[in-house]
């Protein structure tokens, strides 16, 4: 069936969207100088409230997603079609400049959610908000070109491949919205938090293993992915590495249940609690899963799908859950 094949290709695209993003993000000059700014502000959220009025420096030139975009003056009507970018914008205090966000940008709660689609954006609908800057995570159907034709600058921030991509995107958003200082403070805080958490993880001779579940058909992540990198910071190793050793599945292989049962990971993280209604109980009820040590020992961690799939500021929260779960497992003596 031809349509089935098409669906399969589509699925691969959906599954692999985080993997093949060879993004050439280089930060604009104006913002690189600020990356070393002292992380003096206490938390990321307070950083959002302290608005340091109008960094100068416009026009700025931002290079992201393979395009170079120049923004003439500080944008006051930003439309975000990327839930991650929305979280970043609000975390750097640019929330008041945001006039509309896509239907999935429901965090933070004060974000002005509309029924704009981030998957298949309609240029007309976006232009209707009279934006002076549009932020997206991908460019399906040449939306950027359409916006350009309408005279609206658009920035594409694709899924991060490394933590540094996240930091770069936050800094670039800071530069684009005139919030360079706030962005630098947020990045500094995130780096400090993550370093501190990583340092608190006890050392082990044998690394602990984990299974990170993307959906209930056992799609998972390898250590090569963005998510895998976060786990690696806590010294954890993905059991999915065996299923995609050469990265052909883009780091997102579908595991065989047999592998899962025989690999018997120390920790199981469910990132499909919202999408697929999974929890520790439904997991334990699956055929053969009662054999799993993590199930027997209660080491199944239910994550918020959004926090575990976006590459924004809340990645620190995600990492904290991982570290807490890891630290709860006793280090074998000797």
């Amino acid at each position: 069936m031809g349509s089935l094949r098409k669906l399969f290709v589509l699925l691969l695209v959906v599954a692999g969207c985080g993997g093949d993003g060879a993004i050439t993000t280089t930060t604009d000059d104006t913002s690189t100088t600020t990356t070393a700014a002292a992380p003096s502000i206490t938390t990321a959220t307070t950083a959002a409230t302290t608005t340091t009025e109008s960094d100068t420096g416009f026009p700025v030139t931002i290079e992201t997603g393979g395009a170079v975009v120049t923004i003439g003056s500080r944008p006051e009507r930003v439309v975000s079609l990327s839930p991650t970018a929305t979280e970043m914008l609000f975390a750097i205090g640019a929330g008041e400049q945001v006039v509309a966000v896509d239907s999935f940008s429901y965090y933070p709660p004060e974000a002005p959610v509309t029924d704009l689609s981030g998957f298949e954006p309609n240029v007309e609908a976006v232009v209707g908000f009279e934006p002076d800057l549009v932020v997206l995570s991908s460019d399906p159907g040449d939306v950027v070109a359409g916006l350009e034709a309408a005279g609206v600058p658009a920035l594409v921030f694709p899924a991060a491949v490394t933590l540094d991509d996240t930091y770069t995107q936050i800094e670039q958003l800071g530069a684009a919205t005139g919030r360079i200082g706030d962005a630098a403070a947020l990045v500094g805080q995130m780096r400090a938090d993550i370093d501190e958490l990583a340092a608190s993880v006890p050392e082990r001779d044998e690394p602990l293993t984990y299974y990170h579940e993307l959906d209930d058909t056992l799609f998972s992540v390898t250590s090569r992915t963005f998510i895998g990198e976060i786990y690696a910071l806590a010294g954890l190793q993905s059991i999915a590495d065996a299923a995609d050793p050469d990265g052909e599945a883009g780091g997102y292989p579908q595991l065989s249940a047999e592998l899962l049962v025989s690999a018997d990971p120390d920790l199981i993280f469910l990132a499909d609690t919202k999408c697929c209604g999974q929890n520790a109980d439904t997991l334990a009820q699956r055929p053969g899963f009662d054999q799993l040590t993590a199930v027997a020992e209660g080491r199944v961690i239910e994550l918020d799908d959004d926090i575990a799939s976006r590459w924004g500021p809340r990645i620190v929260e995600f990492f904290r859950k991982i570290v807490e779960a890891t630290a709860a497992i006793e280090v074998p003596a000797g």
Binding site: M1, G2, S3, L4, R5, L7, F8, L10, L11, V14, A15, F104, S117, F119, E120, L214, D215, D216, T217, L218, F219, A242, A243, D244, A249, P253, Q254, L255, S256, A257, E258, L259, V261, S262, D264, C275, C276, G277, Q278, N279, D281, T282, Q285, R286, P287, G288, D290, Q291
Partner: protein
């Protein structure tokens, strides 16, 4: 679905092709009975594939011990297979139900495909012809996007919704093709099925667009769910499998009579419309149940019956039971490929059925054409 469209286009001129016009096997003198040899071969294929199925997988477990473990499950057997607890879970909870499901789903799809082809006297008819795929797809999508499938313990509502959707689609096609109390011609029924399928697919696409967050789950269902099934799904399927199989096997004689034409069949004391209705209901029930637990696995219902016709004869008495046996063996074997080719990663079975099946079918086709 593609096959449906093709059928609609090809239906009128191809109705009553020559291979169906032969009432008995005058052309195959050596085997006048039911084809015992072929039945034996089919049963052997099922047995071999079942063995291969339980003993192969990404995790190596000694085949001898696997057999010992399974025999030990029988009432009289009490052997210590020497397998570890997790190996037992792999063999008994993960592999065995997959093999059984593969056999059942393959048998139902191929058997109902053979029946559809007989009822419509159309070689391009397949189990999804009357909107089953579209209906099941819509049902499953509805269950997924409305969150019906979330956090339910005992019974997974997605296959149930798919099953209901499939039956609603067939019933709609059937009802719409009735005019002034008289059932329409097979061509009318097919066209009604195509229209219903298009309508339901449009609804499903719309739902999908509105709920992009569930896209992945919907695709996962469409591409086949054997990989995560267990005994629960087997239990769900068995009752329908029994009913559907029993009715279809009982109707093969009537189908053979029907293949000479409605008038002749009537003069032989058969009621063509009633036979068609009963066979269609039984075949649709089986296909709908299969789709509900397995997702949309194409190709099996079309190719297996034709393969059987090419090598073993064209009467329904042979084609239907042999299609069930070989269809089951084929799908269970395909599933072995699905979990071993990229082990320990999985491949979607819906992709492999066509990938393995198409060349195999072309091989038979060419050999047939040459001889």
């Amino acid at each position: 679905m593609k096959a449906v469209t093709k059928t609609a286009v090809g239906a009128p001129p191809e109705a009553g092709p020559s291979e169906h016009a032969r009432p008995d096997e005058a052309g195959v003198p050596s085997a006048t009975r039911l084809g015992g040899r072929w039945l034996l071969a089919g049963a052997a294929a099922v047995a071999v594939v079942a063995l291969v199925g339980v003993s192969s997988g990404p995790i190596g477990v000694a085949p001898g011990r696997v057999v010992l473990e399974l025999v030990g499950r029988l009432p009289f057997g009490d052997y210590d297979s020497g397998l570890s607890a997790s190996e037992i879970a792999i063999v008994w909870d993960l592999r065995a139900p997959r093999v059984v499901l593969g056999l059942l789903v393959g048998a139902l799809l191929a058997g109902s495909g053979a029946a559809y082809q007989g009822v419509f006297r159309n070689p391009l008819a397949d189990p999804y012809l009357l909107g089953i795929a579209a209906g099941a797809g819509l049902g499953a999508t509805l269950a997924i996007v409305t969150g019906l499938g979330d956090g339910v313990g005992v019974v997974d509502p997605v296959p149930l919704a798919a099953f209901v959707g499939a039956l609603v689609a067939v019933a709609a096609a059937g009802t719409l093709s009735v005019r002034r109390g008289r059932a329409g011609s097979p061509a009318t029924l097919i066209l009604a099925g195509v229209a219903v399928a298009a309508f339901l697919t449009a609804m499903q696409t719309y739902l999908q667009q509105r709920h992009q967050e569930s896209l992945r789950q919907v695709y996962a269902w469409v591409l086949g769910r054997l990989s995560t099934s267990g005994w629960d799904e087997v239990l769900l399927l068995v009752p329908y499998a029994i009913v559907s199989t029993a009715v279809l096997l009982a109707a093969v004689g009537a189908l053979d009579v029907l293949s000479v034409g409605d008038d002749e069949a009537t003069s032989l004391g058969l009621r063509p419309r009633r036979v068609r209705l009963v066979v269609l209901i039984a075949a649709s029930l089986g296909a709908a149940a299969a789709v509900a637990v397995s997702g949309l696995i194409g190709f099996v219902g079309l190719i297996i019956p034709h393969g059987v016709r090419m090598v073993a004869g064209v009467t329904h008495r042979r084609v239907v039971p042999l299609s069930m046996l070989f269809g089951g063996a084929f799908l269970a074997l395909t599933d072995v490929a699905a979990r071993t080719i990229q082990a320990p990663a999985e491949l979607p079975i819906g992709v492999i059925t066509a990938f393995i099946g198409a060349p195999f079918f072309l091989l038979i086709l060419r050999r047939q054409a040459i001889s």
